[in-house]
């Protein structure tokens, strides 16, 4: 499709939406240009056009459709259907204190921590809310998602599929989730309880060669607590225990072993807004590892597998972005609006300084290539600086620079040939219409 015809699409879409007052719609144009410097310098350019339309049907029903086209230097044509949902909500009971709702179709699903599941899925969700209590039940699948945008990588077959450009659909899994949230249970604290499960639906015909991997089924039981401590100071915490089964190579023969793993985290957020709209965040996340893993995925060689494998954890926008599992991450962020006293557009400029410390709880592998002989637990450190500016409500600009300093000293987690000092500079723009 020629470039000039592509630019007509958002214009024509906007005309159609504006001609139909019952329909609301719009879109976003995003651009990311990045320079990544390690041993070599690489340039990335990603442009995305997203279009969405939604409409209400009566007082209780709502539909939304959203799709995107992404251009990158590696892949000039990538289309995705991001949302296709039908939602209903009903106020029941005296004084409308009970809200019953459902969402069906393709939509975003996330557990309360974002560390187990944070991904678009196809399915149905039913929610029941009363004052001070919210509950939801989700059941769905990843089988019809496109492979390229999917971030579900739990087995070696999943990792191989991500590298296979001929593969159209994502790793097929059946996923269920139950969430309960008790609001202001005591002293302004919210309690969350969650259960998730995922079942690997990969066909047995793809699993004849066990050296290439097998299936992974898992269950997750989680609890979280968080809320306000004092005005402007908030905290949150979570913990998940996971059980399941994964392919293991024990004593030279392949068999399925039990997963017994866990993850936990806590964080504090402070918002002293009178100090130039400052925001301070300190957070730590732990994901268990397995010291006897021969490979990161499905690498257990002894006993139970203690590596925590999430379904698809929330993405980190960092230079060094390993998968969850056998990691301890401590992060400190400080953001402020230094030009806020000038008023007007000055209040739309923000800077943020971010520091990350990466450790591993066991000497087992992480998702990146690593030094198998290393006994060190220190993985590396990253420092990022972001400058963000929003000159108009529908235009956002940001410039982010980051440097990752790996532990590639003698005996370090990385060999110098595997990971060296990595710098990334990203310029992004986003325009909504």
């Amino acid at each position: 499709m020629k470039a000039n015809r592509l630019f007509l699409i958002p214009f024509l879409f906007l005309c159609a939406v504006m001609a139909l007052p019952a329909l609301d719609g719009g879109g976003t144009i995003d651009n990311l240009s990045a320079l990544d410097i390690e041993t070599q310098t690489g340039f990335r350019q990603i442009d995305r056009l997203t279009l969405w339309a939604d409409t209400s049907i009566g007082e209780s029903f709502y539909t939304r459709v959203q799709g995107s086209y992404t251009f990158s230097l590696n892949k000039p044509y990538l289309f995705d259907l991001e949302r296709l949902l039908f939602r209903g909500s009903f106020l029941l009971g005296g004084n409308s204190r009970l809200l019953l709702g459902f969402t069906a179709g393709r939509f975003f699903v996330e557990d309360f921590s974002g560390q187990v599941l944070s991904h678009t899925l196809d399915g149905i969700r039913v929610n029941l809310d009363i004052p001070l209590f919210k509950s939801s039940l989700f059941f769905g699948s990843s089988a019809l998602l496109f492979n390229d945008p999917s971030r579900i990588v739990m087995t070696r077959h999943d990792a191989a599929d991500k590298s296979d450009s001929a593969r159209i659909l994502a790793s097929p899994r059946l996923i269920g989730m139950v969430n309960l949230r008790f609001i202001d249970l005591f002293l302004q604290q919210d309690l969350s309880v969650s259960y998730l499960m995922q079942i690997d639906l990969r066909a047995d015909s793809e699993l004849t060669d066990q050296t290439a991997g097998g299936k992974l089924n898992s269950h997750y039981f989680g609890v979280g607590l968080g809320g306000a401590l004092i005005p402007d100071l908030f905290w949150d915490s979570f913990g998940y225990f996971s059980i399941g089964s994964t392919l293991a190579n024990i004593g030279g023969s392949y068999a399925y072993s039990t997963i017994l793993s866990w993850t936990a985290g806590a964080g504090i957020r402070w918002y002293p807004e009178k100090k130039l709209y400052s925001r301070l965040l300190f957070r730590g996340i732990f994901t268990s590892g397995d010291a006897d893993n021969a490979t990161f995925l499905e690498g257990n060689t002894f006993g139970n597998s203690t590596l925590f494998v999430p379904i698809a954890a929330r993405e980190m926008d960092t230079v060094f972005s390993p998968q969850s599992g056998n990691l301890i991450i401590a992060e400190l962020h400080y953001a402020l609006k230094p030009l806020a006293p000038l008023g007007g557009i000055g209040g739309q400029f923000q800077t943020e300084l971010m520091g990350y410390l990466f450790l591993r709880p066991t000497q087992g592998g992480i998702s990146e290539s690593y030094n198998t002989a290393s006994q060190s637990y220190y993985v590396g450190t990253e420092i990022d600086l972001a400058l963000r500016f929003r000159p108009a409500s529908d235009l956002g600009l940001s410039l982010t620079g980051g440097v990752f300093i790996p532990n590639n000293s003698s005996g370090g987690v990385f060999l110098s040939t595997q990971k060296s000092l990595t710098t990334s500079i990203k310029l992004s723009a986003s325009f909504s219409f």
Partner: protein
């Protein structure tokens, strides 16, 4: 809600003797679907575009005289978010985003209002506002104007 009521009462205290703004506001607060004429009256009074003793019909007449393109001018319920947002943006001379500058109207006014924190939730132009919604939104706009001064 109480905070916005206090702000609106503070603004309208000098006009208590005529009581029109208060009467209109009290009437609006009981409406599940806000009357557009009353909403227009409250907006124009708060923006000091019409005198305090004007009527809702005068407010709508003022709206017609303004000649804002794509602006509704008929009285009666319901008041929709798009029309109401557009009226607020124009009456208080609020600047919008790039799309509002190119195509000023209900659609991009509704989005601008959410961006500024005056509204929350759905930004569909056809979203129906209750009287309480109208009073709350005007209160937030007045609070913003007060902070600017």
């Amino acid at each position: 809600m109480k905070k916005y009521m206090l702000i609106l009462l503070f603004i309208f205290v000098p006009f208590l003797l005529s009581a029109d703004p208060i009467t209109v506001m009290e009437s609006l607060l009981t409406e599940r679907e806000a009357d557009f004429g009353k909403a227009a009256y409250l907006v124009f009074t708060a923006a000091k575009l019409i005198p305090e003793d004007a009527t809702t019909e005068a407010a709508l007449e003022m709206l017609r005289e303004k000649g804002w393109k794509r602006m509704r001018t008929e009285p009666g319920p319901p008041t929709m978010l798009g029309d109401f947002s557009y009226m607020i943006m124009k009456s208080f001379n609020l600047s919008g985003g790039i799309m509002f500058s190119i195509i000023p109207g209900p659609r991009y006014s509704a989005r601008e209002m959410k961006f500024r924190g005056f509204t929350s939730g759905d930004t569909a132009v056809t979203r129906i506002l209750s009287g309480e919604d109208v009073v709350r939104i005007i209160g937030r706009v007045l609070e913003f104007q007060e902070a600017l001064q």
